[in-house]
């Protein structure tokens, strides 16, 4: 038995006499953060966390602890029981998930799990040594094991690994970024990422201003993925749909985007960071969110499925309890690729416009209309005559995602796994599978600083 499942079952036993569900998360990770080509903030974490949900007569309470000896688990059960006793009966509580066999998924790699602190330092050094500019970023790898056990018979665990090199090559006038993410460290090449970041940075010197306005644009996978994730968290969850506040409300079944655009949430895809079950213990399923531009569905958990009725079932997208106020979330979105062989081909399709490498500090201005603002950074260029040309200063954009997705002249065939974990709280690797995209509309609303640090 996995150690996480053993911990979950011990917590479950501590909740004697109650309906209960226990989630255990074990983390062994290291993040070698560097700046100015020196590792300055390394963080090595060992933690086991167990969350216990107790149900008494339709009342639900949750407690969390990382003290896992018998006394600690007894105290955990007592606090969860007190929380349950303090809650009113919840008529919408869907009950604990029934026993289910989670799908077999990939996502665990022995070599990645075995990386030592010295290995993590060595892989950070490989990136630093390959960069002719000062390098900023990190190498990280982690082993996490998530397990779930319940009085309804759930008993499942999943071991996961993840690794990521993030490289920002910069001086005072230039900056470029590249990153690679995989659950197999053998697929991550720190030196290659560093060299790509340097190559991008060297093209950003002498950045010029750009008049605000609506431009055709090429979005690299990093930029496209981040926009889609912000949009998806708000637009493609069932809670926003049921509460009539999200973009999807009233639009299911409508052709709302370019027919070249298809979007799924697929935790089972081995190209991503696979997940077997969600935080209610329900098996993960692939959900077609958008098919050829038609908005098909959103993601569901047990609570929203019960509210919706009409035989609606969970799709396996319950979030951790700390994020439950957002409802079910698409943690594994995946965009279908297109026909273009490269971003240069996309630039040809754009003709006259801008090229965006990476974004910074996104914020949702208007969730109902899918309006997002943010800045470009570390590689923004003018496209003239179908070619990537002058470097630009960082641009403020304020885009309506439905308008951005309404006309996509092209998408690349190549799909990139873009890391979207910022490693707050307990580690839960997640990312977006995205191509680069050309759009007919990207609204620039201001200008900011020049590239460089």
């Amino acid at each position: 038995m996995s150690q996480a499942l053993d911990l979950a079952e011990r917590a479950l036993r501590a909740a004697e006499g109650d309906e209960a569900l226990a989630l255990a998360n074990r983390e062994r990770s290291g993040l070698a953060r560097f700046a100015g080509s020196e590792v300055h903030q390394p963080t090595l974490i060992e933690n086991d966390v167990v969350e216990l949900q107790i149900v008494r007569d339709g009342r639900v309470g949750v407690a969390v602890a990382n003290r896992t000896d018998d006394e600690g688990l007894r105290a955990l059960a007592a606090r969860a029981a007190e929380a349950a006793d303090s809650a009113p009966v919840d008529p919408d509580f869907p009950g604990l998930a029934p026993q289910a066999e989670p799908p077999g998924v990939e996502g665990y790699d022995e070599e990645t799990a075995a990386l030592s602190p010295e290995d993590q330092a060595r892989l950070a050094a490989a990136a630093i040594d390959a960069s002719s500019l000062d390098l900023y970023g990190f190498f990280t790898s982690g082993f996490t094991e998530l397990a779930i056990a319940s009085t309804t018979g759930l008993a499942a665990s999943q071991a996961m690994t993840d690794s990521c090199i993030f490289a920002l090559a910069a001086n005072e006038r230039e900056s470029g970024h590249a990153e690679q993410t995989s659950w197999r460290v053998s697929e991550v090449d720190p030196a290659e990422a560093a060299r790509a970041a340097v190559a991008k940075a060297e093209r950003t010197r002498g950045a010029i201003e750009l008049e605000p306005g609506s431009y055709r644009a090429v979005l690299e996978p990093y930029a496209f993925a981040e926009l889609l994730l912000y949009f998806a968290y708000d637009a493609f969850g069932a809670l926003g749909l049921l509460e009539e506040r999200s973009y999807a409300a009233g639009r299911i079944g409508e052709q709302v985007f370019d027919e070249r655009f298809s979007l799924a949430d697929d935790g089972l895809d081995p190209r991503g960071l696979p997940k077997a079950f969600d935080f209610e213990g329900s098996p993960k399923t692939r959900v077609e969110l958008v098919e050829n531009g038609v908005l098909r569905d959103v993601v569901w958990d047990r609570a929203t499925a019960k509210r919706a009725g009409e035989d609606r079932e969970t799709t396996g997208h319950a979030p951790p309890s700390s994020l439950r106020r957002w409802g079910p979330l698409p943690f594994n979105i995946s965009v279908a690729g297109g026909e273009a062989g490269s971003t240069e081909e996309l630039a040809e399709l754009v003709g006259d416009g801008i090229y965006v490498s990476r974004l910074h500090y996104l914020s949702i201005v208007n969730p109902r209309d899918g309006v997002i603002t943010g800045m470009t950074r570390d590689g923004t260029f003018r496209i003239r005559g179908g070619r990537i040309a002058d470097p630009l200063v960082n641009l403020r954009f304020t885009v309506s995602m439905p308008e951005l997705l309404a006309e996509l002249p092209g998408l690349t065939r190549e799909i990139v796994l873009v890391n979207e974990a910022s490693y707050y709280d307990e580690r839960y690797p997640n990312g977006v599978l995205a191509p680069a995209a050309a759009t007919a509309r990207f609204d620039v609303t201001g200008t900011g600083s020049t590239p460089g640090i």
């Binding site: 300055h40 933690n47 990382n66 003290r67 500090y361 949702i364």
Partner: protein
């Protein structure tokens, strides 16, 4: 706990560290949240562990372990040192000299928030929700939170500090939808309410029940309001939005680690340079900003930071001129000024970073009404809705939940979907008045993100409403 820290420090020194410190942190956090009349979240979270920081041949290592035992402390120390020895780069790090601190601190509370029964907290939230019920209001929500954190710190230089910080807070929101329009109103702040280092008395002072009808009514009224037009105009910004304005465009740029580039890859850098100290004009003469970890009730209040440096009040901007940075011992040594005092870590499993503590826009004179009376034509903007700022903290765009037209010094009709944008020093240069002490409010936010792996800091800002001239509202045509 002290003994455990001492064991960790001893183990790090034995493993080759020239300097080491250890923190044991025990945190308990409780959240009660309701949504549309039912409990959405009722949880009680405990976390404990030890974090060890070691400097070996000029390189930092940091490792942590959840086990509060000799084994856990020594394992963390050994790993921190092992990583530091393997760390790439040519390392030369010095720490500003400070006298080793010895002392204790406890947040003064009138009513321990953990002594309030959970059922009473649920009832508190549900009563507030009832008050927000209004036509077209589709979602009402309320929450209260409490946190107690015990922190013991020991350094190899002889510092030993023992602190217990208690927080609580909450907030309410009403979301209205109709005909494809969705609007929200919040109290006392958006995105997580407001918190304070205080007891349950702080939550009661937020007066959810009193404010709930206004929140619900305004959310519904926004559905019928006209969109705010784009223009260059005078804006009066309420104290709550000034909290975020100060946080994003003064707090973060003055973090000295950002100035030196160590956050470049994630949170970004700063438009400020070390040489700007004492000379850079940040804003108008009405702009006075102070960092003060001694402010009663502030979420950034402590007696000692996470390097054991005693709390100290520092001027950041005085009469519009940059006068200080937020610093660590390392960055203070690098700039050759001060001793740090702004190092804070999120719990036991993260390395301390330069963070805001309590950063205040000092009050000016007069009332909010007087600020508004001084506007022939403009807008009064209330409560943050969206926020974004570039990686050097220059270009920002903020949206507010509501805007009110000002005409001939009086408030007029309500407008929705207002945003304003600017360049940090230009914007602060257009500040022509800050309201007085009677309008000054302390807001506490718990979602300030920074660092990799990510860390949340809890910080407070004292602000009054302020008036800015010639500001771009909406988009430049």
């Amino acid at each position: 706990m002290r003994e455990l820290c001492e064991e960790a420090v001893s183990a790090a020194l034995a493993a080759g560290a020239s300097y080491a410190d250890a923190r044991v942190v025990l945190r308990r956090a409780q959240t009660v949240a309701t949504r549309n009349g039912r409990v959405d979240r009722l949880d009680d979270i405990e976390s404990e562990g030890v974090g060890v920081r070691a400097l070996v041949d000029g390189a930092w290592g940091f490792a942590c372990d959840r086990r509060l035992s000799t084994e856990g402390a020594q394992a963390a120390a050994a790993k921190a040192c092992a990583f530091a020895k393997a760390a790439p780069g040519g390392h030369k790090r010095a720490l500003a000299t400070v006298d080793p601190a010895q002392g204790e601190y406890r947040t003064p509370v009138e009513r321990d928030p953990f002594e309030i029964p959970l059922a009473d907290k649920v009832a508190h939230c549900l009563r507030a929700e009832e008050g927000m019920a209004y036509d077209d209001v589709k979602v009402t929500s309320a929450f209260v939170r409490a946190q107690r954190e015990k922190r013991v710190f020991v350094s190899s230089e002889g510092a030993v500090t023992d602190q217990e910080l208690v927080e609580c807070g909450g907030g309410i929101d009403a979301m209205a939808s109709r005909d494809g329009i969705t609007q929200i109103r919040s109290h006392p702040s958006a995105h997580g309410g407001s918190s304070s280092q205080a007891g349950w008395e702080y939550v009661e002072s937020l007066a959810f029940e009193r404010e709930a009808p206004r929140v619900g009514e305004q959310a519904a009224a926004l559905l019928r309001a006209e969109p705010c037009p784009s223009m260059v105009t005078t804006i009066v910004v309420d104290a709550e939005q000034m909290e975020l304005q100060t946080h994003e465009s003064v707090g973060h740029p003055t973090e000295l680690d950002r100035v030196y580039g160590t956050e470049a890859a994630y949170a970004g850098t700063s438009f400020l340079k070390p040489g700007d100290l004492g000379s850079l004009r940040y804003g108008s003469e009405h702009m006075n900003v102070t960092a003060d970890p001694t402010t009663p009730g502030g979420l950034g209040t402590f007696a000692f930071d996470d390097e054991g440096v005693p709390a100290q009040r520092v001027p950041i901007v005085a009469e519009g001129v940059l006068q200080g940075f937020l610093a660590s011992r390392e960055t203070a040594a690098r700039i050759g000024s001060g001793s740090g005092g702004s190092m804070r870590a999120d719990g036991w499993s993260r390395m301390p970073l330069v963070r805001m503590t309590n950063l205040h826009l000092e009050p000016g004179e007069g009332s909010l009404e007087e600020l508004i009376a001084g506007v022939d034509e403009g807008l009064f903007l209330q409560t943050n809705k969206s926020w974004s700022i570039d990686d050097k903290r220059l270009n920002f765009q903020f949206g507010t939940q509501v805007a009110w037209e000002i005409e001939d010094g009086e408030l007029g009709r309500m407008l929705r979907d207002a945003t304003y944008t600017g360049q940090t020093p230009v914007f602060w240069g257009s500040l022509d008045a800050v309201a007085g002490r009677d309008e000054w409010r302390l807001h506490g936010l718990t979602n300030c993100g920074k660092g990799q792996p990510g860390q949340h800091a809890h910080v407070s800002h004292g602000t009054s409403p302020a008036r800015f001239r010639n500001v771009q509202v909406g988009f430049k045509s």
